[in-house]
Symmetry: C3
């Protein structure tokens, strides 16, 4: 897989990732991860200090599926929508593809107001499986340490 | 036209679209649409409910040209500028190319303050005409239902 | 260099540019410019009027290196982080590549709040040197005239 090809395929994976969340197709979101995977949301401060934990931590696709089911039950998604704007990845091919990709999330509440909800960088390890790129690891590093503690929807 | 090629050409069309609006080349904007076309601005709520109408609705390039002329006469553009940040398209080639593309618009008022003006997704049908990609249809679906009713400049 | 190739390489240069600033690798930032180069930050108003000056002006890589050294001494970077979201370039190849690229910068203060810090367009002249694309000129045109006069970190 050449560099341009890897770049465009990873950008397409990010677009699909954002669309699953932003268009309320949350059930499709876990399928973008490998069965064995890491998904973590943390802050830049904690990431820099090497803290292992995160605000959200999952180490399998099954945990991501459970998380979505819990969100549906809690009906939290009904009150807000997200809009991801994802930059072009900076990637370093290898056995796995590793990449850094900036992102921004705008939140719109049901009653109207919009706000900058999160900004940061995705640190990814991506692998080909059955002809598609999938996340082996996605660490969501948020610039702000003031992350909504009710953080409901994946970032 | 291969997938990578279609993706880059559509991204280029979006960049040109944004530049027409953001750099005050509004008169160039209608030329990005086919003579027979749909351009519509609506909210996610109305789109989900299948409401046909929109805050803005045009079904020909001629209507878009009229709209720009009216904007120029009203001098509304003088008071504000827009800045579009457009994500990578998710596209499904076919006879037409159909695509979903996230966008964000920041508005800057002449006296200085900036705000998040709109966020949402473009739902596009694009066709090749005379060697260039042009919009057969662009539905601008805004995440918020509280859209400025004075909505002056195209989104 | 074909059009798609130039586009992806310029997008990669922009990604690296943003990463140098946003990930606090400021010392790597000047190396993305040619030894003889122009780097300028101005407002859309001043740019339109043809004012030569800028809020920030440098005409060599050496000046950019000095600037970063001054920033480090002042410790300003410690109090805030930036996050660039950079759109796809609109480019016109030639002897040099010239391009227009929209950008958005979100600032996060150490104590937590995030704000839209800047939006605008990069006007670039880019040239190949030793196998890599480098900036011969980057004019940062900010939409707002109210630019933080303490403007510390490169945009």
């Amino acid at each position: 897989m050449g560099h341009a090809d890897a770049l465009l395929r990873l950008a397409a994976l990010n677009t699909e990732y954002a669309s699953c969340i932003d268009a309320d197709r949350l059930e499709d979101w876990p399928s973008l991860f490998l069965p064995q995977c890491i998904y973590k949301i943390t802050s830049a401060d904690n990431h820099r200090r090497g803290y292992a934990g995160g605000l959200v931590y999952a180490d399998s696709r099954a945990m991501l599926i459970d998380r979505i089911a819990a969100l549906r039950e809690a009906n939290i998604y009904e009150r807000q929508t997200y809009r991801h704007i994802i930059g072009m990845p900076a990637l370093r091919p290898g056995d796995d593809i590793t990449a850094e990709t900036p992102f921004l999330v705008v939140r719109t509440m049901r009653d109207g107001p919009m706000d900058l909800f999160a900004a940061g960088v995705y640190l990814d390890r991506v692998r080909e499986a059955d002809g598609a790129l999938r996340f082996a690891e996605r660490i969501v590093v948020c610039d702000s340490s003031r992350i909504d503690t009710l953080l409901a929807i994946p970032l």
